[in-house]
């Protein structure tokens, strides 16, 4: 009999090597792929997020939990092709690190948590110019644009990226959210006019859901 709790535990503790056999065993026992993802893996990632917020775990543990979940999802993904439900998305988010900044760990964690929560995410990488942000948002027709800046020296680029959106044809089509160690709510929302600010990856999911009127 499938040990579904063990799948959740494997994600929680980042046991990537265990997840393959556990997921395969559950599938062999006839457990629906969506149940494995939604009821166990995503639930595990929610718990990981809560532990991270409470400073019970840190970036390495979170990275390994996300990688473990991704490994499990990779096994399940082929079974979801053409099926509804598993592929249902809450919205589309474009995410990148602002110009002059090459840091991506936090941004990638946001991406993983958003994907785990049911969003489609387009990751446009690091060192992204304001013009690239706007062009990619237009190309991918996204609902939300998330920009990250770890360095305080990136503040002017957060501002210029927001200004580029406000001056473009995308200004009424996307909502802008900022995050990263260097960014504050006062600066990004108060001074630059972003639609939202998130303190960390868990908060980013919460804020985006709130902006999109999606129940938490």
């Amino acid at each position: 009999m499938a040990d579904l709790q063990a799948i959740k535990d494997a994600v929680l503790s980042g046991k990537r090597k265990d997840i393959v056999a556990l997921v395969q065993s559950a599938l062999d026992d006839g457990v629906e792929p969506e149940v494995i993802i939604n009821d166990y893996m995503i639930e595990a990632m929610k718990e990981v997020g809560a532990r991270f917020e409470a400073k019970k775990i840190f970036v390495p543990e979170m990275m390994m939990a996300a990688r473990t979940m991704q490994t499990g999802v990779d096994i399940i993904k082929p079974l979801l092709v053409g099926k509804e439900g598993g592929a249902k998305k809450l919205g589309k988010v474009l995410i990148g690190t602002v110009f002059g900044d090459l840091h991506d760990i936090g941004k990638n964690l946001v991406m993983l948590l958003l994907e785990s929560s049911g969003f489609e995410v387009v990751n446009i990488g690091e060192n992204v110019t304001p013009e690239q942000f706007v062009a990619k948002a237009r190309e991918h027709n996204v609902d939300i644009v998330g920009m990250s800046s770890l360095l305080t020296t990136g503040d002017p680029h957060v501002k210029s990226t927001i200004e580029a959106f406000k001056a473009s044809d995308m200004k009424d089509k996307v909502k802008l959210i900022c995050g990263g160690a260097a960014v504050t709510k006062k600066f990004s929302v108060g001074e630059c006019g972003a639609d939202g600010y998130a303190t960390d990856a868990v908060d980013a999911v919460r804020v985006i859901k709130k902006i999109m009127n999606i129940a938490a």
């Binding site: 980042g14 990537r16 090597k17 400073k55 840190f58 390495p60 990275m63 390994m64 990688r67 090459l102 840091h103 991506d104 760990i105 990638n108 690091e126 770890l150 360095l151 305080t152 020296t153 503040d155 002017p156 160690a181 260097a182 504050t184």
Partner: protein, 229 residues
């Protein structure tokens, strides 16, 4: 080169500067060291600096405090003292301070350098030290993946020699880290004047004195071309 702190001056410093302060001959009794990894949570760092400052405020023999920290992503935002003068370097993090005032930031090299110093090696958490902790927990493959993810924006390890000399174990650490993660490695000698000015009370455009009642804020920091971590 030795530095004499001005009278009635204390120091609150990140542990990462311990080798430099020691080499400059600053008395241990004048320094409060805080752990290097506090910078990972700027709010927590600020709490810890405030606690140390509050303790120094009780000491009648102290009138000024050198806060040997960069802005650290908000780790000093709104720091103030009712009684003490705060002497703060206008650096966004510790790396420019360790590199010193090189003209045009020539010391920093390209923006893809992961900087190490004796203090980072002896007292700090780096992707290299964390790699070994992760190996124990997750095995070599995942530990290497994690470190590679963290370092993927970097092409070289740069070992910085400021006032503290480099020892053989520092060079070995830098070389081994570079080798494990597929990076090149080099050493540079930093300009020492920033740390010297800061600690000796010398006027400098790169040092700000915050008078009692006023506070540190991001607006007072310049936007340098280079910032490292």
């Amino acid at each position: 080169m030795k530095v004499k702190l001005p009278p009635k001056t204390g120091v609150i410093s990140c542990k990462v500067f311990e080798p430099e302060l020691s080499a400059l001959g600053i008395e241990e009794s004048k320094i409060v060291y805080l752990e290097q990894n506090f910078h990972r949570d700027p709010k927590f760092l600020l709490e810890k600096v405030k606690e140390s400052l509050a303790a120094l405020e009780q000491n009648e023999n102290i009138e000024s405090v050198v806060v040997l920290y960069g802005y650290c992503g908000g780790g000093l935002e709104n720091l103030s003292s009712r009684r003490l003068k705060l002497i703060v370097p206008l650096a966004h993090d510790c790396i420019p301070l360790l590199l010193g005032l090189c003209p045009g930031n020539a010391c920093s090299g390209s923006g893809d350098a992961f900087f190490l110093s004796p203090g980072w090696i002896d007292h700090g958490l780096t992707p290299y030290t964390e790699y070994f902790a992760s190996v124990e927990k997750y095995g070599k493959e995942d530990a290497l993946w994690m470190a590679t993810e963290i370092l993927k924006g970097y092409n070289e390890v740069v070992l910085v020699e400021n006032t503290a000399g480099l020892l053989s174990h520092h060079r070995e650490y830098a070389r081994e880290m570079a080798e494990l993660f597929g990076l090149s490695v080099r050493e540079i000698k930093a300009d020492k004047s920033w740390l010297f000015d800061l600690l000796s009370g010398t006027d400098s455009e790169f040092v700000r004195v915050i008078t009692p009642g006023n506070s540190v804020n991001l607006g007072m920091y310049p936007s340098p071309e280079s910032s490292a971590r």
